[in-house]
Amino acid sequence: MAAPLLEARGINKAFPGVLALRGVDFVLQRGEVVALIGENGAGKSTLMKVLAGVHTPDAGELRLDGVALRLSGPAEALRLGIALIHQELSLCDNLTVAGALFLGAELRRGPFLREAAMAAAATAVLHRLGLEVSPQTLVGALSPGQKQLLEIARALRAEARVLIMDEPTSSLTQVEAERLFAVVHELKARGVGIVYITHRLGEVARVADRVVGLRDGRNSGELRRDDIDHARMVSLMVGRELSLQRRTPHPPGEVVLRVVGLRTAAFAAHAVDLELRAGEVVGIAGLLGAGRSELLRALFGADRAVAGSIEVAGQRLVDHDPRAAATAGLVLLPEDRKSQGLILPMSVRENLSLPTLRRRGRWLDRRYERELGARSWRELDLHGGNDQVGAGALSGGNQQKIVLGKWLAASPKVLLLDEPTRGVDVGARAEIYARLHALAGSGLAILFVSSELEEVLALADRVLVLHQGRLAGSLRRDEADEQRIMMLATAAESA
């Protein structure tokens, strides 16, 4: 049997503080579609970037047609016929379709562009993909699906033999996705090898000849065509022991947050209802793009909701903004600490007092600021200087504690947290968990979003699972496990 098209053996790759890949093997045959699955952070992106020459592996070898490779970068990979199609499309909106297709490899005669030749070649490639647009169209005028096809056209134009697609359908409509599947089939028939990365397990069953699972940077197994089913894929992705302590739940108090018929702008088709009781900790799980952050932002009033009512401790918030939400006792620790949670050039003290200053009158209450700064520094156990250094100088964990501290000063009733431990190291993470436990114990209701199932299972009394903006299910803590959550998140069980 001939050597496989692309082969990776024993790939290791470490980043500062993280071992992203540990001895990963990966094989791709000609005309084969291999789906690469795994949880967020399992190493899918890293492996894909190693294959496409973006990262150089620390150990292991790559072979193309049985010949050992050392890729110096993505340009060389592309020259050898390995094309990576990014999740975030990287096309210039103000170029024409033909211009984008030949960007960096323009046909020319001396200093002059051979526009006509490029247009003709572009038309041929586009036709093969069923993308019937004029080569003169501006890229900006294309739909996301057409842009995705254009990216593929670019790979075809470069005569790619290995195509790596990262979440290719994440921005596509159903029709566009069907079109893409047809193209995948056609490419396969012509001997192109395709690596298909997706969170949508339903798609995998449709397009893949083989499934390769990754978990914590290692191979977690393979499924042949006939063995591909939802449950097996989920167990490839999860199925590891929990390392975090589960907490003892508190007896919940009265309802402090009642949401009825909330429709976010991003997922206006689905109304969300939920109730949260004092002392309760509820986790929201779901895949990337399931509408988790959008839900929190709409609750906090950072984005306008399309419809619905939100009541905090019996008080209804209509058309509210973050200020009204905070006044009512509903606060958010946002997803992006650095751009939404903190004002980095301002001091820790000024950040801590920002939401509550105005409650103390029109004049700056410096004594209040000083006392709050000193008290928070002590109680939150902050490290890295004092409360007068710029917030930007502190580590991620300490920054998150400042965001928490500034809202605790506002004596909230409901705490919304979006990825509370993203970019936070293990030690600070444990501190944040302990603090959240204590806060719930003192009667605060907590609603948090996390992409880490372990975190959701360890913290939550109840787990809500979102799937494409819809509340796909609600699991009590004794029912919740990684399998069930994944099933709901990938919509295998339609409730």
């Binding site: 906090f300 950072a302 903004d321 973050p322 200020r323 939400a325 905070a326 006044t327 958010l332 946002p334 751009s339 939404q340 949670g341 903190l342 004002i343 980095l344 050039p345 301002m346 000024e350 920002l354 939401p355 200053l357 105005r358 103390r360 009158g361 029109r362 004049w363 700056l364 500034k406």
Partner: protein, 334 residues
């Protein structure tokens, strides 16, 4: 603080240079330090300083106001019109003009916040629009106050005598009052803290419950109001205004003064004293050129050149300090 030191040193060096160069051996005096020249300088500092403080309010929020000169023109043409042509008493005409200019600022703010237009676009169009309307409105005639303003002119031309042949110009006192007020707002009120928070990171400020939209509107309102006050003072000073030229380019003097004084164009940074010193530099430089060369032909060239050298020097020194401060470190700090 470091920026304050820099601008102070620059100001002192240029003043010393001007003093040295302006020695008149015939009369045995340093012309730069003569009471006439100093009074003149301080008066102009008062007039232009008010505009710079207004510009600083907007720049601190991360915006820009290019309409300042045109608003000066509106105030300068409307005041004589109300007093002389309509026969309004000065005590009524003055607040009316200020209300109109504040209204212009409110309108800018609402366009920027409500329609999410770029501040640059809104205020650039304002610059063209108001001056154009004023030229039509006045039919390019000079709007003179004659003697109708009466005692009101003291606001711009009056002097508080300090010694023989020297008095403090009243506009400087007006500037001092407004600077003090601005300082109080910026450093002692929640409004000020929120303005700086908005300029540093608008989204985080909004997420902390700051009403960023309303706050932005107030900044443009203050800027236009102070431009209106400046316009009133300018017209009271020269007693007449011509719509096609009155206040031309004043927005650039105002912005340059604020930026020289350490107000960062990206927003969130600025000290009141710095703005005043920056505005002073913008007066001392042309004055020096006049005294040294005996003509103002090189005025713009010298102002531009000195600011450029100052900015470049600032950057070079900062890099040098950073390199010395953190040996063995490369790339931008995390």
């Amino acid at each position: 603080m470091k920026k304050l030191l820099g601008i102070t040193v620059l100001l002192v060096v240029i003043a010393a240079f001007a003093t040295w160069q302006s020695y008149d051996p015939g009369r045995g005096v340093y012309v730069f330090l003569s009471p006439d020249n100093l009074q003149n300088l301080l008066q102009r500092l008062g007039l232009y300083g008010v505009l710079s403080l207004g510009a600083a309010f907007v720049i601190v929020t991360g915006g820009i106001d290019l309409s300042i000169g045109a608003v000066v023109c509106v105030a300068g043409c409307c005041l004589p019109w109300l007093i002389r042509d309509c026969g309004w008493p000065p005590w009524l005409a003055l607040p009316a003009v200020l209300a109109v200019t504040a209204g212009i600022g409110l309108w800018h703010g609402l366009l920027i916040v409500g329609l999410r237009l770029q501040p640059f676009v809104v205020t650039l169009c304002g610059l063209l629009l108001y001056r154009g309307l004023m030229r039509r409105f006045t039919d390019d005639q000079t709007m003179g106050l004659g003697s109708s303003a009466g005692g009101l002119r003291e606001l711009a031309t009056g002097r508080v005598p300090l010694g023989p042949g020297f008095g403090l110009p009243v506009p400087l006192l007006v500037l001092a009052g407004i600077a003090l007020l601005t300082w109080v707002v910026w450093t002692r009120t929640v409004w000020g803290r929120h303005l700086f928070a908005l300029g540093s990171n608008e989204e985080a400020a909004r997420f902390a419950g700051v009403r960023t939209g309303r706050l932005t509107v107030t900044a443009y309102l203050v800027s236009s109001l102070l431009a209106g006050l400046g316009g009133v003072l300018f017209v009271l000073d020269v007693n007449s205004a011509q719509a096609s030229s009155f206040g031309n380019f004043y927005e650039l003097y105002a912005i340059a003064g604020a930026v020289l004084g350490g107000v960062a164009l990206r927003g969130g940074e600025g000290v009141v004293l710095g703005v005043v010193l920056g505005a002073a530099l913008m007066q001392v430089l042309p004055n020096t050129v006049n005294l040294v060369f005996g003509s103002n032909q090189l005025e713009f060239a010298v102002v531009g050149g000195v600011i450029l050298i100052g900015a470049a020097g600032d950057e070079v020194v900062r890099r040098w300090v950073r390199r010395r401060g953190k040996p063995g470190r490369c790339g931008p700090p995390a």
